[in-house]
């Protein structure tokens, strides 16, 4: 059932806690060397799914296989214990063992595998070098800062050369600056080692920045799977448009398809007609389009939707400026670079291209 291109295959996975269904029929595949992120708000089932892959949660329904080998199958009652699944994991709390040194922590997985001591120390050193922690090898783990613990947890997870590494919100306990740094390092490390990884986060920015593919989850089901660009540019529904990035949602109804591929007419409430893109097959019942706040331009552009508007509020954020603009579609949020500021109260022209005006599933 799994072709060799996929490292991990999860199909039809459901996990229940008593009466509560935490994960409800989730299926996806992760290719070799691919970095896939499960993204969603807290309680969406992303961590539960990850823990099920590690064998730390017991699904009610579904199968999980890794490298073509079935790890869990509800019907056949097959459940390979965690320690025999050959995956590795970085925990949200880091789970660095306080009664050991840094070296003791990193060497653990190798000692379990009974490696010869020369090979063991070589591998430990390599792992510590990768996270730049070699100078602290003999320090007791209880005397490490948060960032250092993070690195030890990472080194421990990769030291025994696993093919799959699972990350459970590994950066959520770090401060913003350190988080941005570690993000870059993680991506680098992941490329260098060629490991397959599944990463869980609620931080959409993080998910977009470090993933090959993103799986957006909500209340136990998958809302959309795609590359970061697909998720951002072509959100499938209201939840994805709203949760990933920031978007204006405009209500109305679908008009007739236009000649050039995928473009349709969309009659916004209030009578304004927009040209929009329908990236997903039309099913009827669609009533909303989404326009990313960053994709609305101030000024006229050729071959785009054009609207007159008045600047109601302007907020300076530094990296961008956020405007609240009154226009025939209601109030729109527009984010522009902090160059060419427009004053509050000024009348302006808005424009956005039809390919950035995405019809959402109803």
């Amino acid at each position: 059932m799994s072709d060799s291109a996929s490292r991990i295959v999860v199909s039809d996975l459901s996990i229940r806690y008593g009466e509560v269904t935490a994960v409800n029929g989730v299926s996806f595949e992760v290719g070799r060397g691919e970095h896939v992120t499960l993204l969603g708000p807290s309680g969406c089932g992303k961590t539960t799914t990850l823990r099920a892959i590690a064998g730390l949660e017991q699904p009610a329904i579904g199968t999980i296989s890794i490298d073509g080998e079935v790890m869990y199958d509800a019907i056949e009652r097959r459940n390979v214990p965690t320690e025999h699944r050959g995956v590795s994991m970085v925990f949200q709390s880091y789970a660095v063992w306080p009664h050991m040194t840094v070296l003791g922590n990193v060497a653990y997985g190798l000692r379990v595998r009974k490696l010869a001591s020369s090979e063991l120390s070589a591998k430990v050193e390599r792992a510590l070098d990768l996270v730049q922690m070699r100078h602290l090898a003999d320090r007791p783990a209880s005397k490490l800062s948060g960032g250092q613990q993070q690195r030890v947890a990472l080194a421990r997870a990769i030291a025994f050369s696993p093919t799959v590494v699972l990350f459970d919100e590994p950066l959520s306990n770090l401060d913003a600056k350190l988080r941005a740094e570690m993000r870059l390092e993680l991506r680098e490390l992941q490329r260098q080692l060629g490991i397959t990884s599944v990463y869980v986060t609620h931080d959409q920015e993080e998910a977009l920045a470090i993933s090959d593919r993103v799986i957006v989850m909500n209340v136990g089901v998958i809302e959309q799977i795609g590359t970061p660009e697909q998720i951002y540019n072509r959100p499938r529904n209201r939840f994805v448009a709203d949760f990933v990035g920031s978007a204006n949602l405009i209500r109305g109804r679908v008009g007739k398809p236009l000649a050039n591929g995928g473009t349709i007419e969309f009659m916004a409430d209030g009578g304004h007609v927009l040209r929009a893109t329908a990236p997903h097959a039309l099913r009827g019942g669609e009533t909303e389009v989404a326009v990313r706040t960053a994709y609305i331009e101030i000024g006229k552009t050729a071959d785009a939707n054009q609207l007159p508007g008045t600047v109601r509020r302007r907020m300076f954020h530094g990296d961008f400026v956020q405007y609240v603009i009154d226009c025939p579609l209601g109030q729109l949020i527009v984010r522009r670079p902090p160059t060419n500021l427009v004053a509050e109260g000024e009348d302006i022209e808005l424009s956005f291209s039809p390919e950035h005006c995405i019809l959402l599933e109803g």
Partner: protein, 568 residues
């Protein structure tokens, strides 16, 4: 899929049920059965020694109201007095130690635990030495200085209450300071920022927020005082002041023993205490503490300026009254031929210690207590660890019931539990009454709550992901247990062991009923020596017992320095 099937699937789970069920049955047998026996006996209106009873009725309960009204009045008066003193002392000390910049605060806070470890028995003996009429040290010194009559008389209702408050009231301090510590200082700061004065803030914000904690402590301490035994035994019986616990004890001494009467009184006491503790739980659960989060803050302390030293003196005075003076008095007495505070008249000798260690019954009692301490602590910790694992780490059906059962002995006054065990095992076809085996079983049962709570505290501190991570790294269950779980739990296991050891060595309430002629233990022997031999020998015995506990305590403190602090 249903829960049992799910449980079956999990590797290695199918034997869990096979463990829980027997454990549940054994714990229920140990914990609940004695109380059932007690209930039955309290309704026995025929021959009190007959089992099963030949006649049932409520006569025993009726007799309590008719004949023992004075006992009930005494109990209430003493418990109320002691509770008031304990709460005033506890509140004052808690406030000084959490909210002011009193010098040496951390050290003082640790010292506050000492009176609890002194035990009310040793405290009562010491205060008998200090403040009995005529021969008490205070009164000796008073007359030597030219005073007339007696300054103090410990053999009074107030005397009993005073000892209870000093040695059993520590829990009030612990509970109130916990309430004060868990208050977010921002709540007070925001009142100040809005413009309230210090005094207004204290009256309108601090006090209302701390009040539920104080009320809870009051209720809790009052329940404890109702069931308190040691001070009432040592001081009350010579003073002819009987409270309910000593009345229970006394009615089992008559011939024939009035077990029915004793059971009725014991059960009534249990019901009242249980109601109060339930009331306390309800208060806590209802969320009167809504603003008090579980988090511990270090509240902003007030700069007391020159007042800091007088406040220090208040704390020091408490330590002097509850620890230093009693120990000094006992030490002095134990080294003298005749107890006297006037050193010029003293004849110093080691004869009391020689006698205590040479006297057959005392020696065996001491040896038995140590043996029981070692045995119960060692076996107990193992069994309790299993219980903790079942309750907090497994996903088995019925673990809530196990937890409830394990905590149950806490709600039963020690003495009443002793009586219940006595009656149950007198009538059980297993002939262990009067042997150390029964004492061991009884100690284990009454120490279940403290042992399980201590172990659970450590288990819950250990993040589950630390263990999960070992599994992900490829470690099997046993390897994980050996390399991760056990090393992390070690300090907690040792702490629990020491606590159980200490509690066993000083146990009185259960021991007085279950001790046999061939199975004596130290605490009741000390009481016996006080009643029949000289105070000098008693003092030596009490100090030997205290010394044993102190050694264990010192190890405990050293071990737990980095760990949790509130091991009460």
């Amino acid at each position: 899929m249903t829960a049992p099937v799910k449980g079956w699937l999990r590797s290695g789970n199918h034997w869990q049920g096979a463990i829980t069920l027997p454990v549940l049955l054994v714990v229920a047998f140990l914990v609940l059965l004695p109380v059932v026996f007690l209930l039955e006996e309290s309704l026995n209106t025929g021959d009190p020694m007959a089992f099963p009873p030949q006649q049932y009725g409520l006569a025993n309960y009726a007799a309590m109201l008719e004949e023992d009204l004075q006992v009930i009045v005494n109990t209430v008066v003493i418990a109320v007095t002691a509770t008031m003193m304990a709460v005033v002392i506890g509140f004052t000390l808690a406030w000084i130690l959490t909210r002011t910049n009193v010098p040496g605060r951390d050290r003082l806070e640790r010292l506050m635990q000492l009176p609890y470890y002194m035990t009310p028995l040793v405290g009562a003996l010491a205060w008998a030495v200090l403040a009995s009429p005529k021969s008490g040290f205070f009164n000796q010194v008073w007359r030597w200085a030219g005073g007339e009559g007696d300054l103090f008389n410990i053999y009074s209702m107030f005397g009993i209450a005073w000892i209870m408050a000093l040695f059993e009231g520590t829990v009030a301090f612990v509970m109130i300071s916990a309430a004060m510590k868990s208050m977010d200082p921002a709540l007070e700061e925001s009142a100040r920022v809005i413009g309230a004065s210090k005094l207004r803030t204290a009256l309108t914000v601090t006090l209302p927020l701390v009040m539920p904690g104080v009320l809870g402590a009051t209720l809790f301490v009052f329940a404890e005082m109702l069931g308190s035994f040691a001070a009432a035994l040592v001081i009350g019986i010579p003073a002819r002041v009987y409270v309910i616990t000593t009345a229970i004890w006394d009615s089992t001494l008559s011939y024939p023993p009035a077990y029915g009467r004793a059971s009725a009184m014991g059960l009534a006491l249990f019901v009242v205490m249980f109601a109060m503790l339930s009331g306390y739980r309800w208060m806590v659960a209802r969320g009167s503490f809504a603003t008090i989060t579980g988090k511990a803050f270090r509240p902003r302390t007030m700069d007391m300026g020159r007042l800091a030293w007088p406040l220090f003196a208040v704390c020091a005075l408490y330590i002097v009254l509850a620890v230093a003076l009693p120990l000094a008095a006992l030490l002095l007495t134990s080294l003298e031929r005749f107890a006297t505070a006037l050193l010029s008249q003293a004849q110093f000798t080691l004869a009391n210690y020689e006698m205590a260690l040479a006297l057959g019954p005392v020696r065996t009692a001491l040896a038995n207590s140590l043996l029981l301490g070692l045995g119960v602590a060692t076996v107990g910790v193992l069994v309790m660890a299993l219980l903790v694992w079942i309750i907090y780490r497994s996903e088995m059906v019925g673990r809530g019931a196990v937890e409830y059962l394990v905590m149950f002995p806490q709600a039963v006054p020690r003495l009443v539990f002793g009586l219940a065990l006595l009656w149950a095992w007198l009538n059980m076809p297993i002939p262990i009454y009067g042997t150390l085996w029964l004492l061991a079983l009884a100690y284990f049962t009454v120490m279940l709550p403290i042992g399980v709570r201590t172990l659970a505290g450590v288990v819950l501190q250990v993040d589950k992901s630390l263990e999960e991570c070992a599994r992900v790294c490829g470690a099997g269950w046993l390897y994980q247990l050996r390399t991760i779980s056990l090393p992390l739990l070690k300090p907690g296991v040792i702490a629990a062991w020491l606590l159980i050891f200490m509690a066993s060595v000083r146990e009185l309430g259960v021991s007085v009923f279950l001790m046999g002629p061939n199975a004596k233990v130290i605490a009741p022997s000390i009481v016996g020596a006080f009643a029949s031999s000289g105070i000098e020998l008693t003092a030596a015995m009490a100090l030997i017992q205290t010394f044993t506990v102190v050694v264990a305590l010192m190890i405990l403190f050293r071990l737990t320095r980095g760990m949790t602090r509130e091991l009460t």
